[in-house]
Amino acid sequence: MITLYDWELSANCYKVRLLMSILGLDHHAVPVDFYPGWEHKSAEFAKINPLGHIPVIDDDGYVLRDSHAILVYLAARYDKSGRWYPVDDPEVLGETASWLLFAEGTTNTASAARLYVNLGYDFDIDAVRAGAHRLFGVLDEHLWFREREGLDWVTSSPHPTIADLALFPDVALSEEGGVSREDYPALRRWTDRFRQIDGFTVMPGIFAPSRAAPPG
C-alpha cells in the first residue's frame, strides 16, 4: 500500500491523488497540517523530507518527493496501459517531459498566485500573475491547434499523459489566485475534457463534472 503525505488543499498533493484515482491505486493518506499547523516545517517531518514540502510518497519503503517525480514513478510502475507515461514512444515521451517542465512554470506562477491570495504567501503578485497569463496564452494557443488536428491533449498522443495531469490543477485552480481564464477558451474546453476522464476525482475548489446523460 502506498502512503501519501498529504494536505487536501494542496494542488501538488492533488496531482498525486488524481493519478492514483485514475490508475485505481489504493493509498493510505497521512494528513499533514500544512496550514495553519505548519507541520511540513516541523523537525519530525524533516525526517521524511528535509526540504520540508509535500507531497511525499512511501511505496513499501521506497520514499519519493516532488509531485512531478511521483507522477513519473507511479505511471511508469503502475499504468499497465503505458499511456500516461509512454516510455515506449520516444516522441510522446519527449513532449511529456517538455510539458512537465512547462507545468513547473505554471506551478511557480499560477499556483504561487493562489498561495498569495489564499494563505498570504509573500510573492510579487503582479509578476506571478503576469507570468501565469503568459504561460496560459501559450497553452491556449497550443490546445487550439491540437483541437484542429483532432487531438485533445497537450502531447501528440490521442491519450492524456501525466503532463496534462500535472497542468490540470494549476490551471483549474488559477482563479483562486486571481488569474482568470476568460481569455483562454481552448484551455477552458481542455479542463472540461479532463474532468471527463475515467477515475477523475475532485479536490475542494475544483468543480465536479456533470452527471447528465451523455450526448446523443
Partner: protein, 598 residues
C-alpha cells in the same frame, strides 16, 4: 444604453467555442455572457449570471438541454432561459417568469452573433458566403476596438499562396499586395493577392468590443481552403495576428487606460423580488400556436405538434399541461409530453372520447395541420420532485402523457425511475417510439383485466423504500385502486401523486352559504346551483383556473376558517382532512360560512 455599439450585432464566439456540453465564457461591451449550444444545435447567449444569487453561469453545467447553476442546482431551459426546477423546493413548480436574461443569437460565417439591443440582422458581407466561410482563431487584444481596427487596416494577412497548394511545410512567401476593400468601426475586409498576382483571397477581420480595453479579433476567410492547407492557413493567420496583437498592446500600454464599460444589470421583476406567490390569474389563452404536425400515435389517439406563431414558447416543467381553446368554444387540458429543453414546439396527445363533450372530437376531426389554436401558457399542478431516490411512474392509457415528460426528465438527469405503462393492447400505447427510447426503465402491462391490473399494481407499489415517490395518471378506477393499494402498502399520501383526467364526483350544489374574502374584505353569498368561482368572478374577483371540474388544482385557495366540503380529486386525503385548502371551482362549504385567503 442605446449607442451605436449597443444597437449593432457583434460576434461573441466562434463555432469552435460552442462545442457540445460546454459553456463558453464571453464578453461584449463590458457585459459577461454565457454562450452554449444545446444538443439540438440551438445556441444560447445569456447574461453570465444566475438571477438567484449572481453566480456565473459559465461555471455551471450544460447538460445538453438545460443549463444548471453550480451554486444551487437551479435548472434553466435552452431557448427561454426559464427556470424549470428549484431543488430546494422539490414539490413546487417554479414561477414560469423566473428567467435569466437572454440576448439574441444567430450563427453566420462560423461565428455566433449577438448584441445588447441589435437592430435588424447581423451584417451580410458580399465578400463572404454564409455557408462557405472559414473561421480562423480568435485572438484577444488588450486594447480598445478602434485601435485594433486601425491596426487591422494595415494588417498583412496573405494566405493566398497557401490556399489550395499542398502543404509543403514552407511558411507563406512574401505574397502579393494586400488591400483594404471595406472597413467600418468594427471590421476590416482585406484582399490578398498571391505572389504571382494570379489569384486572390478575401478575409474579414471583425473587432468584437469585449470591453473598453479589450477587443477580440474574430477573422473569417472567404471560401474553405483544401483540407491539407487548413492548418498552414490557420498558423499563418495566428502568427500574423499575434504580431499585430503584441504591437497594438505595446501602443495601448503607453496610453492612459480607458474607463471600463459598465454593463447595467436589470432589476428582477417586482414579483420575483419577494418570495414567489403562486401566479397567473384567470383562464387565459395567452398564446397562439400553429399545428405543425398531426399524426396517429396510437389507436384513437392523435398527436399534435404546436409551434409558436410569434416569439418563443414559454418554459414548461415536466407534468405541466396547457389549456387548448377549441374552435367549438370548448376548453380542454392536455399534458405536454416534451422532454427537457424541447421548446421549439409543444407536443400533446389527444384521445378520442366519443362520449365526451366534443373537445377531443373537435381536435380529431376538425383541426388540421396549419390551423391556429389559442392555448394557455403551461401550468404545472403535477410537479415532479427530483429529490426521490427512486421514482415510480404509473400510466394508464392516455395517462402516459404527463409521465412521459417526467420520464424523459428523470432519464436525462440520470435519476433512478421506473415507468409502468398499462394499455389495452400494444396498439393502444401512445408515443411508443418515445417510450422505447426510455430503455429498460419501462415495463409494459398489456391487456390486463381489472383484477389483473389490481394485482400488477400490488406488485408495482409494494414495499415502499425510503425517499420514493409515485406518480399515477390514468382512468378514474385505476387511480382509485392505486390510491387504495399504495395506502394499504404503507405509502403516505404525500409520496403518491395523482393526476385525474376528469372528476367523477357527484356534486351536491343545493347548499347555500357565505364566503368571506379575508384580503379583499368582501362577503359574498353563494346560492344553490352556483359555484364559489362563479360568484367570485361575478363580483370582479380574479381566480386562476383551468379545468374548472376539480381535477387540475389550478384554482386552489387557502381556507382560513370554516369547513370545506371537498368535491375535487386533486387534494389528497390528508390535505382534505386538514382543510387548509380547497378548489373553488367545485368544492363548497360544510357549514354556513367559509373564510378564504383571497
Amino acid at each position: 444604453m442605446s449607442g451605436e455599439a449597443e444597437r449593432r450585432w457583434h460576434p461573441v464566439a466562434s463555432q469552435y467555442d460552442v462545442v457540445p456540453r460546454h459553456v463558453f465564457w464571453g464578453r461584449l461591451l463590458g457585459r459577461e455572457l454565457a454562450v452554449w449550444r444545446a444538443d439540438d444545435g440551438y445556441v444560447n447567449v445569456w447574461e453570465n449570471r444566475c438571477l438567484h444569487r449572481g453566480v456565473r453561469l459559465s461555471v455551471g453545467t450544460n447538460d445538453g438541454r438545460e443549463l444548471v447553476c453550480r451554486y444551487h442546482g437551479w435548472r434553466y431551459a435552452s431557448r427561454t432561459a426559464g427556470c424549470t426546477y428549484i431543488p430546494a423546493h422539490p414539490a413546487d413548480a417554479p414561477a414560469r417568469t423566473i428567467c435569466n436574461r437572454t440576448f439574441p443569437a444567430l450563427e453566420r460565417y462560423g461565428l455566433v452573433w449577438s448584441g445588447e439591443e441589435p437592430d435588424g440582422e447581423p451584417p451580410v458581407l458580399d465578400a463572404l458566403e454564409p455557408g462557405g466561410a472559414f473561421a480562423l482563431r480568435g485572438v484577444t487584444v488588450r486594447a480598445p476596438a478602434e485601435m485594433v481596427v486601425d491596426a487591422l487596416s494595415r494588417h498583412r494577412f496573405s494566405p493566398t499562396d497557401l490556399i489550395g497548394a499542398a502543404a509543403d511545410g514552407n511558411g507563406p512567401g512574401p505574397g502579393g499586395p494586400v488591400t483594404v476593400t471595406g472597413q467600418d468601426r468594427y471590421h476590416v475586409v482585406l484582399r490578398a493577392e498571391s505572389a504571382d498576382g494570379g489569384s486572390a483571397s478575401t478575409a474579414v477581420f471583425f473587432a468584437q468590443p469585449a470591453d473598453a480595453d479589450r477587443t477580440v479579433v474574430r477573422a473569417v476567410l472567404a471560401g474553405r481552403p483544401a483540407p491539407d492547407s487548413r492548418i498552414p492557413v490557420w498558423r499563418h493567420h495566428n502568427t500574423a495576428l499575434t504580431q499585430l496583437r503584441d504591437a497594438v498592446e505595446a501602443e495601448a500600454r503607453r496610453r492612459p487606460p480607458p474607463e471600463p464599460m459598465v454593463a447595467a444589470i436589470e432589476e428582477v421583476p417586482i414579483h420575483l423580488s419577494e418570495v414567489p406567490e403562486p401566479a397567473p390569474k384567470g383562464r387565459r389563452a395567452g398564446l397562439r400556436v400553429q399545428v405543425a404536425r398531426k399524426w396517429p400515435v396510437a389507436e384513437d389517439v392523435a398527436g399534435f405538434e404546436l409551434v409558436s406563431i410569434a416569439g418563443q414558447l414559454p418554459t414548461f416543467q415536466p407534468g405541466a399541461h396547457i389549456d387548448v381553446h377549441l374552435p367549438n368554444g370548448l376548453v380542454r387540458q392536455y399534458s405536454l409530453t416534451n422532454g427537457p429543453g424541447e421548446l421549439d414546439r409543444y407536443r400533446i396527445g389527444v384521445k378520442l372520447e366519443p362520449d365526451g363533450g366534443g373537445g377531443s372530437r373537435s381536435l380529431h376531426e376538425n383541426v388540421r395541420v396549419g390551423d391556429v389554436l389559442a392555448v394557455s401558457e403551461p401550468r404545472n399542478n403535477f410537479p415532479l420532485r427530483r429529490d426521490a431516490v427512486r421514482t415510480v411512474l404509473v400510466a394508464g392509457g392516455i395517462g402516459i402523457t404527463p409521465l412521459l415528460a417526467m420520464a424523459q426528465a428523470l432519464r436525462h438527469q440520470g435519476l433512478d425511475f421506473e415507468l409502468h405503462v398499462f394499455a389495452r393492447s400494444e396498439d393502444h400505447i401512445a408515443f411508443a417510439e418515445l417510450i422505447d427510447g426510455l430503455g429498460e426503465s419501462v415495463t409494459r402491462h398489456i391487456g390486463l383485466s381489472p383484477s389483473e391490473t389490481g394485482a400488477a399494481l400490488e406488485s408495482v407499489l409494494a414495499g415502499p423504500g425510503p425517499h420514493e415517490h409515485v406518480y399515477v395518471c390514468g382512468p378514474g378506477p385505476m387511480l382509485d385502486a392505486a390510491r387504495r393499494i399504495a395506502a394499504a402498502g404503507g405509502r403516505t399520501d404525500d409520496t403518491v401523486h395523482f393526476e385525474y383526467f376528469a372528476n367523477p364526483t357527484d356534486i351536491d350544489d343545493s347548499t347555500t352559504f357565505t364566503v368571506e374574502l379575508a384580503r379583499s374584505a368582501l362577503s359574498l353569498e353563494v346560492p344553490a346551483g352556483a359555484t364559489i368561482m362563479e360568484v367570485l368572478r361575478a363580483n370582479g374577483v380574479e381566480v386562476s383556473s383551468s379545468c374548472e371540474t376539480g381535477a387540475c388544482g389550478t384554482c386552489r385557495v387557502a381556507v382560513l376558517d370554516g369547513e370545506p366540503v371537498h368535491n375535487d380529486v386533486y387534494l389528497n386525503d390528508t390535505e382534505k382532512q386538514q382543510g387548509g385548502e380547497m378548489m373553488v371551482c367545485v368544492s363548497r362549504a360544510g357549514g354556513d360560512r367559509l373564510v378564504l385567503d383571497i
